[in-house]
């Protein structure tokens, strides 16, 4: 029962205690089957063991946790209440700090490998963040801009990775030769996926794209002659710096180290890979920023807003949707090619549904359609589990909880403001 005079209603302690006891009661019901009782393997047969002290501890933490949480929320509401009175209705003014944060991040990303040149783990994690930023931007075109809920995006990531792996191991193509071909192939798969789903809405579209992702993964696992099946494809050729491979000095030709007179260190390759993905990411950002201003970009957003109205204005909605799928898939393909080049070995385990779910979480968390939001969300969702590496068993538990908390805290995504892509000059907002 939400009482309407809550705003002025001073919350009494007894109310808080009653509420906390309710939570404790529920905690007991939740805790008994999972924490109170558990089955232990005793010589081939299961035996139920009890650990009531743990249940007690759990209920107590829930009780006091609830009290603390309520207290914090009350303070927060009180503070916000006072703050709100002083500020007029916040008109959607462009927030300058957002732009500065963007440039700051860009500067930081340029300087990062040099600052952490000895710490290979940080550079490698940053490379993973950038891969997920690329994937996030690709999916952002499909889900954020065109509003097509795609749950099988990992399929295009796999198409990119496997095309590079196969082309480089079978035909000796290098990274730069494969990139455009893999992008085109992924775009083709994008259209292949888009075509049957044209008439589908929302969740029906989601399940079909999910099915498409699973079909690709199962084919990769089973078609051993083509994809190496579960063994995957190994010894994929690493990208070289315009022909200078990253290898310890050896007699067959100059290497990166020998050419630049550096003493060989394995970090060179990691740093080169980082800058390679950074360049790819910046190009992608430029590409999408321009596309948003072009008719095709505006058409995507129009289709997301109201498909029927688009038809009434003479827009061929089918082509618009297919172009969104194709461009999104192409970017996924590029990220796949880079992933294969970086890891040197790919196998179907890397292209499971939970990858699609993570990339979707990045787009939704970042704020639908917001390029910058994807960058922040990608860094969050990649770095958070890495931070948890030390307490290994609780890592994924906290990751799941974090996803819930962030969504509850920011349902519209971190950056939920939309920058108009066409502005009439001489007219203040």
């Amino acid at each position: 029962m939400t009482t309407f005079q809550a705003r002025t209603h001073t919350v009494t302690l007894t109310e808080r205690l009653k509420d906390a006891t309710n939570v404790a009661l529920i905690a007991i019901l939740l805790g008994i089957p999972m924490i109170g009782l558990h089955t232990v393997d005793a010589g081939g047969k299961l035996m139920v063991a009890t650990r009531w002290p743990w249940l007690l501890a759990f209920v107590a933490t829930m009780f006091f946790g609830r009290l603390a949480l309520q207290f914090a929320i009350d303070q927060f509401k009180l503070k916000r209440l006072t703050r709100q009175r002083t500020r007029t209705l916040e008109v959607a003014t462009p927030r300058p700090w957002l732009k500065w944060l963007g440039y700051g991040l860009l500067g930081f990303s340029l300087v990062l490998p040099i600052a952490f040149s000895d710490n290979r783990y940080v550079v490698d994690t940053a490379t993973t963040v950038l891969i997920y930023v690329m994937l996030g931007w690709g999916l952002n075109v499909v889900v954020g801009l065109a509003g097509l809920l795609d749950l099988g995006y990992v399929a295009f990531y796999a198409v990119g990775a496997y095309s590079y792996a196969l082309l480089s191991t079978q035909f000796g193509w290098n990274f730069w030769e494969t990139l455009p071909v893999a992008g085109a192939l992924a775009a083709l798969f994008g259209i292949l996926l888009g075509w049957p789903t044209l008439r589908l809405r929302g969740d029906y579209l989601a399940i079909v794209t999910l099915g498409f992702g699973e079909i690709i993964r199962v084919i990769l696992i089973n078609w051993t002659e083509f994809s190496g099946g579960p063994n995957g494809i190994g010894s994929i050729e690493r990208p070289s710096f315009f022909g200078l491979p990253f290898k310890p000095d050896s007699d067959d030709g100059a290497t990166f180290a020998s050419f630049f007179g550096l003493e060989y260190a394995s970090e060179h390759r990691v740093i080169f890979l980082y800058y390679l993905i950074l360049v790819l990411a910046l190009l992608t950002n430029l590409f999408i920023a321009r596309l948003r201003k072009l008719p095709v970009g505006l058409a995507w957003e129009a289709v997301r807003e109201d498909e029927v109205a688009c038809k009434a204005l003479g827009m061929n909605v089918t082509n618009v949707k297919l172009s969104a799928f194709a461009i999104g898939a192409m970017l996924g393909g590029f990220a796949g090619v880079f992933f294969a080049a970086r890891q040197g070995f790919i196998s179907p385990e890397s292209f499971v549904f939970s990858e699609s779910a993570t990339i979707l979480a990045i787009v939704v968390l970042g704020g639908m359609g917001s390029q910058f939001g994807v960058v922040i969300a990608a860094s969050l969702l990649v770095i958070l589990p890495e931070l948890g590496r030390d307490f290994s068993e609780y890592r994924m538990l906290l990751f799941g909880a974090a996803m819930i908390l962030i969504m509850v805290w920011k349902p519209g995504g971190l950056i939920s403001r939309r920058e108009p892509s066409k502005v009439l000059a001489g007219v203040e907002k």
Binding site: I26, G211, E214, V308, L360, V408
Partner: protein, 304 residues
């Protein structure tokens, strides 16, 4: 010929299991229009609790099968309903007015959380139970292949049919059912008419969880072994079944489940189990291309 009938029975049972979980999916989707990715894991939680309850009952010497089964069902349904309520209260209620995709992501987060919680509290090892309902009917032998229908298989099929009838009755005939359908059409209007929307949705989640609990108990008894990772694959299959049958329609969920169960059984028996998942999803895509709102789903009329 014998193998065909045997696969028919196996397919019927597997389909009923998918149908049971899909029922929970459709009920939850039907009311707030959201894919509850954590539903598969609520089914897994139910299965784990049923192992604890069955082992405890066996230890206490309650061996009469019907009694043990009834007690297990009731206890597991009760606890799982509380889990259903808590999942909704923590992950979905705060996001009720949020953009459509927000609850989807918090559902995925909740699914990861539930899996790891169970792995931490109940251990990662596989949890078996003694066969609670041994014995079967040997129907007939056809050139050396004896076709059998075990008691558990019969129970699962019967339970599915009974539950479908009960829940269709609840949704269509009772006032609670009307409130649910009203919430699905327009939550704000329903609230204005004096229906406590929050309570209706919470109750629906608890019912959905209870349904998942029954499926969890059935699976634990049928397959005899359970671990913390079964929720994901089962959830995916049940979601496919619910959409194939037309999301939101209860008979559709069971029909979708049966079709996928049958398809998988016959495909892996006569062709090869390698591509049985591909067959399932391919069938779904084909059906949705011609009937965009599923087999029994209400065609969504686009009001121009």
């Amino acid at each position: 010929m014998g193998q065909f009938i045997q696969q028919l029975i196996n397919g019927l049972t597997l389909g009923s299991v998918y149908g049971l979980i899909a029922l929970g999916y459709t009920m939850v989707y039907g009311i707030i229009g959201m894919i509850n990715f954590a539903h598969g894991d609520i089914y897994m939680v139910a299965a784990i609790i049923s192992v604890t309850v069955i082992t405890l009952l066996a230890a206490l010497g309650i061996s009469a099968v019907p009694l043990a089964l009834m007690v297990t069902l009731l206890v597991v349904m009760a606890f799982t309903a509380v889990y259903g309520w808590s999942v909704e209260r923590v992950a979905y209620r705060p996001l009720r007015t949020a953009p459509r995709l927000a609850p989807l992501i918090s559902a995925i987060g909740m699914s990861i959380f539930l899996q790891n919680m169970v792995q931490l509290t109940q251990g990662a090892r596989v949890k078996p139970i003694a066969d609670m309902m041994p014995g079967q009917f040997n129907l007939f032998t056809f050139d050396g292949f004896t076709v059998f229908l075990s008691y558990t298989q019969l129970m699962i099929i019967v339970v599915t049919v009974v539950l479908l009838a009960i829940f269709t009755y609840i949704i269509t005939r009772t006032s609670f059912g009307r409130q649910q359908r009203a919430c699905e059409q327009d939550q704000t209007m329903t609230a204005l008419l004096g229906v406590n929307v929050d309570r209706t949705i919470s109750l629906t989640f608890m019912l959905g969880a209870a349904l998942a609990a029954i499926a969890g108990v059935m699976v634990t008894i049928y397959y005899g072994v359970v671990d913390f990772a079964i929720g994901f694959v089962a959830g995916l299959k049940a979601f496919t079944a619910a959409v194939l049958g037309g999301i939101g329609s209860l008979p559709g969920a069971v029909l979708g489940g049966l079709i996928i169960g049958m398809l998988e059984s016959f495909w892996s028996a006569y062709y090869s189990p390698e591509y049985k998942d591909v067959a399932g999803f391919a069938l779904l895509i084909l059906v949705l291309m011609f009937r965009p709102s599923g087999l029994l789903g209400r065609p969504e009329v686009e009001k121009v």
